[in-house]
Each structure stands twice: as C-alpha cells, then as structure tokens.
C-alpha cells in the first residue's frame, strides 16, 4: 500500500453534492496534477460529515484542517498554499458564530465536542467505495467474531442486553425482534433493511447508506446468522439514487471479499443480499406496506398480527430493521453490550442520530447519547436560532410528530420523556421553528402531507384526515368556526384509535399537539380572525398588528 503525505477528504454527502462538491474535487485533482503532487497527496470522496450547512466541505489530513463553503475557484489556493507550502488558507476556515474567530481544526468544532458517533462512526471519514478502508476501521470484525465463536442465541442476548431500540420510529427493542424471528418456524427466513426514509426532514439513513454502506451489509449478515436467514433485502427509496449506487457497489465488493454469498469466511454460513428500490410512497416505510412493495405490489399496510416476525415476506418469518439500527450493531458486538448500555438513560440506551433543520444556525446531522437535554442540542450543538430570533418550539417526529415548546427545552431526549410531552423521538427529526412561524399554517402543511400520502386503504385515515384538512384550511382563511376545535379533537381521537397502520394513527398528532400547546394562537385565528405570527395571508387585516 502506498503512503501519502496528505489526504484531502471531500465530503460527498447529499447536501454537499447539491452544493456542487464534485466540481471542487475535480479542481483540486487538477491543481494536484499541475503541481505534480499525485504521488504525495490522495483525494478521497467520503460520505456526509454532518456539517451540511457549511458545505461543500473539505478536510485536509494529517492536520485535520476543515475548509467550508469551498468553491471550485478556491481549489487552486488550497493546493498552492496548503498542500504545497503548508500554509492554512484562513479565509476558508469555519468561523465561530459568536466571536467570529476562525476554527482551523475539525476536532475543535463546537458542535462536535458533545457528540458520540456510533451509527455514524465512519460516515465522513472513509471512502464508502473502498471496502479496505472499512476493514481498516474494524469493518467485518464483528461478523468474523460472530461466525467464529458465537451462537445465534448469544448474539441475540448481546443485542438484547445492549438495550438498542428500533431507530426508525417505533422504538421497539431490537433484540426482542431478533428473538421472535429466530423462534418463528419456517424453512425460509428473510432479513429486510428499511431504508425508505420517507419522513421529510431526516436524512441519517441516507447518510449512512451513502457514507458507510458496509456497516449495514455487515449487520444484515450478522442478523441473518442470528435468526437463521440466508437472504436479505435492502429497500431504499427512489429519491436516493446515490445511496443505491454506493450500496450496489458495496454489495459487489463484499461478495468479492467473501463477506456475502456462499460459505462466508469458510464457516458454512451463507447469506445473499438484494436491493429493492422504492417508487415514492411515504406509507412504504410502514413495515407491512414495505413488504408488499418488495413483492412488487401496491404498498398498502396489513393489520398486525400476524407480525412480520411470523408471517412477513412471501409469508415467511421476516426481520425488519431500520438503517440506523443496523449500523449500530457491529460496534455493539465488538465492544459489548455493557459499553453501549453505559450511554443514554435507564430505558433509552445508546446514541441517537438527529437531523437538525429549520430555523437553526448549524443544521446538519448529529449523534448524541440519548437523554441529552434538548437545550444542549439546539444551542450548544446547533448554535441556536437563525438570526437570533426567539425560539417558539422544536418540532419532533416530522409530519406525524408534535411540538416541544420553548418552555420545555430542558426535556431529556429519550423515548419516555418525549412521549410524555405528547410527541415522539420518531426517526430523529428536529425542526426548529421561530416566532415568525405560524403553527396553524404549519400543521395545515403537515395535514396536506398526510392526506396526500394516505394510501387510501382504511376509511378513518382516507376520509378523516381530509375533513381535518378542510377545517384547518378554513381556519387559515379566516372562516373558522367556534366548533372547529371540538371537531378537530373528536376526529383526531377517532383516527388515532381506528386507523389501520401506525402512520394513520400518528397523523393527527401535530393537531393535538398544537391544541395542547398553542391553543390561544389557534383561537386567535378563529375568534379574532388574526394570525399572531403574520403568516396566514387572509388574516393580515390590521396593519398595526401585522407590523
């Protein structure tokens, strides 16, 4: 293996690609060629580094200097100054939002100090297209450990003891899911990875699939061994073509190296993996709908039980885990369940990836121990509210979640505490809203989403959500009536208790959350025909109030 004097890591996560990191990479390669540095410097394309707001990002090692918002024109300077002469290019460094002082080294980033990366351990550090980089970072060690000396029961116990819970939204104990599928009777069993990250505002699964696909492949093979399956499917949503490409490449490499396929590592265990690409339907994130979609049908949910653990894909026992959950498996096997369980709270163990978006200074992906107060996440890691506006609430769980108002910012971010506030950790979406956001307008927006994405199979969701949307639309147009509040509450209650799948049941959550925390604002829309945040166009009648 050749040794290089320096490595230039170019972040090629979804945000950086959107902002044009590929022309930057080309320009750097060109500069390196011009200065004849090809033998000394290696340029590596990595997955998401998490500082998406500052993209396109470049990190130069061994020093670990991070350059932000790099454009193709800047490449020549980075090459001639930093790579050739060893001088840091100050104008491209990240600057502290308060002091405006440059922070040259990535490790000193204020948002990093409180993070612990487990599921995201490799994303942004390795080249996802090179299996050897993954192996060099203890990749496939866990699979080897499992296959060479652990019984399926021992593997399941390890996962159970770690306390890991499904990161896709439901928060069910992963180890128990494995145990049920292991005990289910059936000659053929399947492992399915749910990569249908449909909730708008989250992108951790995308980042893991794009930046560290092997961690998911390794975990699926381990899961296959634990439950007795020799086949697996990764279901990825169609909106993520790059993730599909990286995953396909990784599966081929894993096959070549003998980590997938027949007789893995000479142990007699065989496991084959296929990719299924979705076609754009939010409901396919629901596990029974996802299975229908893999079978090539309309993705509509089925009543449970029977659970997929007993009757899943083509009627066979099937284990379904989310991408982030799977990516956490190999470190748990290697470092032990005690290590993982030492992080987090009593009932919510380990770390969780959150996507910080909305009106926040440093949006991006972060991974923190569960139980961290929301205030630390928003202010210490996220840098606070954009333009120093007043924080109104944080929206957790996306369109099927609810609000955490500013008064509750000290809530511990674990499954139980967040549920007490009437919302959910969900898949980890945290959208900050400030004083300029109208909650009624926002909730209406979510209801539009849920109506559009309702699969139409069960009546409460198909018809009920539509009625709720009609009421909300009316209210934002200044035609609200006094009984609308009561009607919304009644409909919400009804849908929550009678919809067929988890998505339908959760769809009224934003409305209930709004009525719980922002009732006066909603009432102002109805009684005073006034939008306190000055968003609803029909309710901006008095200029003195709207000023």
């Amino acid at each position: 293996m050749r040794c290089y004097r320096a490595h230039v890591l170019v972040c090629a996560g979804s945000a950086c690609v959107t902002l044009g990191c590929h022309p930057v990479k080309e320009a750097i390669l060109e500069g390196i060629k011009r200065h004849r540095l090809e033998e000394e410097i290696k340029v590596v394309e990595t997955g998401c580094m998490g500082f998406c707001e500052q993209g396109p990002l470049i990190v130069v090692y061994p020093e670990g200097v991070m350059y932000c918002r790099v454009q193709a024109e800047d490449a020549a300077v980075i090459v001639s100054e930093h790579l050739l002469k060893g001088r840091v290019v100050e104008r491209l460094l990240y600057r502290d939002t308060d002091t405006n002082k440059p922070i040259p080294f990535m490790k000193d980033q204020p948002s990093l100090s409180k993070q612990i990366k487990v599921a995201m351990r490799n994303a942004g550090f390795i080249n996802p297209e090179d299996i050897e980089e993954y192996i060099a970072n203890e990749g496939y060690f866990a699979l080897a450990k499992v296959l060479s000396g652990m019984s399926p029961e021992a593997v399941i116990n390890e996962i159970k003891d770690s306390g890991l819970r499904g990161r896709g939204g439901a928060g069910f104990l992963t180890g128990s899911k494995w145990e049920f599928t292991n005990k289910a009777q059936g000659a053929q069993k399947y492992v399915v990875c749910n990569g249908d990250e449909g909730v708008p505002g989250v992108f951790m699964d995308r980042s893991i699939l794009e930046g560290d696909p092997h961690s998911v492949i390794e975990a699926m093979a381990i899961a296959g061994y634990a439950i007795g399956a020799d086949q697996g499917y990764v279901y990825v949503r169609a909106e993520y073509p790059l993730a599909v490409e990286k995953l396909r490449h990784a599966i081929n490499q894993a096959r070549e190296y003998g980590f997938l396929g027949y007789n893995i590592l000479g142990t007699g265990f065989s496991f084959e993996l296929n990719i299924r690409v979705g076609a754009g339907a939010f409901v396919c994130g629901e596990e029974t709908a996802l299975l229908a979609s893999i079978e090539g049908r309309r993705g509509t949910p089925k009543p449970r039980p029977p659970f997929p653990a007993n009757k899943g894909l083509w009627g066979a026992p099937t284990l379904i885990n989310n991408v982030e959950t799977l990516a956490s498996i190999p470190p748990i096997i290697l470092k032990g369940s005690d290590w993982y369980a030492s992080m987090g709270t009593e009932k919510s163990k380990g770390t969780k990836v959150f996507a910080l978006t909305g009106r926040i200074k440093r949006p991006g992906l972060i991974e923190v121990p569960m139980g961290m107060p929301l205030r630390e996440i928003i202010y210490d890691i996220g840098g606070g509210v954009l333009n120093n506006k007043k924080l109104k609430a944080v929206l957790a769980g996306g369109p099927v979640g609810g609000f955490i108002p500013a008064d509750y910012l000290d809530v511990s971010m674990d499954y139980e505490s967040v549920a007490e506030l009437g919302t959910l950790i969900g898949s980890g979406s945290l959208s900050v809203i400030d004083e300029d956001t109208c909650v009624v307008d926002l909730v209406k927006f979510f209801m539009e989403f849920s109506c559009e994405e309702s699969c139409g199979k069960c009546t409460p969701c198909r018809e009920g959500l539509k009625r709720m949307l009609e009421i909300l639309t009316r209210v934002t147009e200044g035609k609200g009536q006094e009984r609308d509040i009561e009607d919304l509450e009644r409909l919400s209650d009804f849908i929550k208790n009678t919809a067929l799948c988890g998505l339908g049941q959760a769809a009224p959550s934003p409305v209930l959350s709004m009525l719980r925390y922002f009732r006066p604002e909603f009432e102002a829309h109805i009684r005073d025909k006034h939008c306190p945040a000055s968003v609803c166009a029909a309710l901006l009648d008095s200029p003195c109030q709207s000023a």
Partner: protein
C-alpha cells in the same frame, strides 16, 4: 396533438423486450420494470402497460394499480426539463412555498402540469434529504440547494437557452 415524449423512442421496444426477458417469471420485479420504463420513456405509455401485462403475466389492472399508487410513475409525458420543488418540512420552513410560486409565475403552470411546448414540467417532491441546505429543487433529478425566489427567472432563462443551443447542434 401527438403526445411528445421526453426522449427518442427509437429502439426502445427492442430494449424493453430485453428487460422483460431478464425479469421473466418474476412477478415481484414489476416495480423494477416500471422504473426502467419511466426512466427511458419519460412516462408509462398505455401500449407498454399492455406489453408488460402480457409478458409478466400480471393483470393489466394490477399494472395500472401499481403505476397510479407510486408517485414516481406517470401516465402523462413529462417535459424536457422536469423541475421538482422540494416541499419537505425543512424546505417548507425555509421558504419553499415562495420558490414554488416563482416557478408557477415564470412557467405559467401549476404543479403536476407541463408547459404547452413540452419544455417544462413542474412537480413537488417530498424531501430530497439535503435538508441542511434547504430550500432545494431538482432539475431532471439533479439537486440544487440554497434556492432563492430571485434565482428562478435566471434558471428558467438558462434552461431555455440551453435547449435552443441543443436544437441548433442537432
């Protein structure tokens, strides 16, 4: 009016045969086949639905059922430039509705429509997963972030010119 397609369809029939042959006997691959058709034809024409139904031994009603269920498939041809405005939560909070309005004004069409000259289609998309650089749009699946309403006129103009140039070369 003849329905215009986004891409040249010469030779596609032969390729379709090949794709169908590769998935022979695998009904579960229906979505994958439709995916290929959408990508190459720009939509799923009725005659292709019939061919798929016959070759894959799936009822035509099921084929139609699947096409209309998933957002990705369309029964109408799309314009040469398919502009999708992301309307996920993050983009909504950072001004996606204003971006959409600008495109509506600039192109004179509403979402899910195509301009009369088959040049532009406008659509909404739920989350491209680049939320940190919201608002996002995509033009023929290529994502663009940090969008501003002021940029919309420029983008449309640039695409029109690009198309004119391409016509000249042809």
């Amino acid at each position: 009016m003849e329905a215009a397609t986004t891409k040249c369809r010469c030779g596609l029939e032969a390729e379709l045969e090949k794709v169908l042959a590769a998935h022979e006997g695998k009904k579960e691959d229906l979505i994958e086949v439709l995916y290929w058709v959408q990508k190459n034809y720009g939509y799923v024409p009725k005659e292709v639905q019939v061919v798929i139904s016959e070759k894959m031994k799936v009822p035509l009603s099921t084929v139609y059922d699947v096409i209309t269920f998933y957002h990705l498939f369309s029964l109408k041809p799309k314009g040469k430039y398919e502009i999708s405005v992301c309307n996920g939560t993050a983009c909504h909070l950072r001004g996606a509705p204003f971006i959409l309005k600008s495109f509506e004004k600039e192109l004179g069409i509403k979402p899910q429509d195509t301009t009369g000259d088959n040049m532009f289609s406008l659509g909404l998309i739920r989350c491209l997963g680049a939320c940190a650089v919201a608002p996002n749009i995509s033009i023929n699946s290529e994502p663009h972030g940090r969008m501003e309403p002021e940029l919309v006129t420029k983008i449309v103009k640039a695409l029109k010119e690009k198309s004119k140039l391409a016509d000249c070369i042809e």
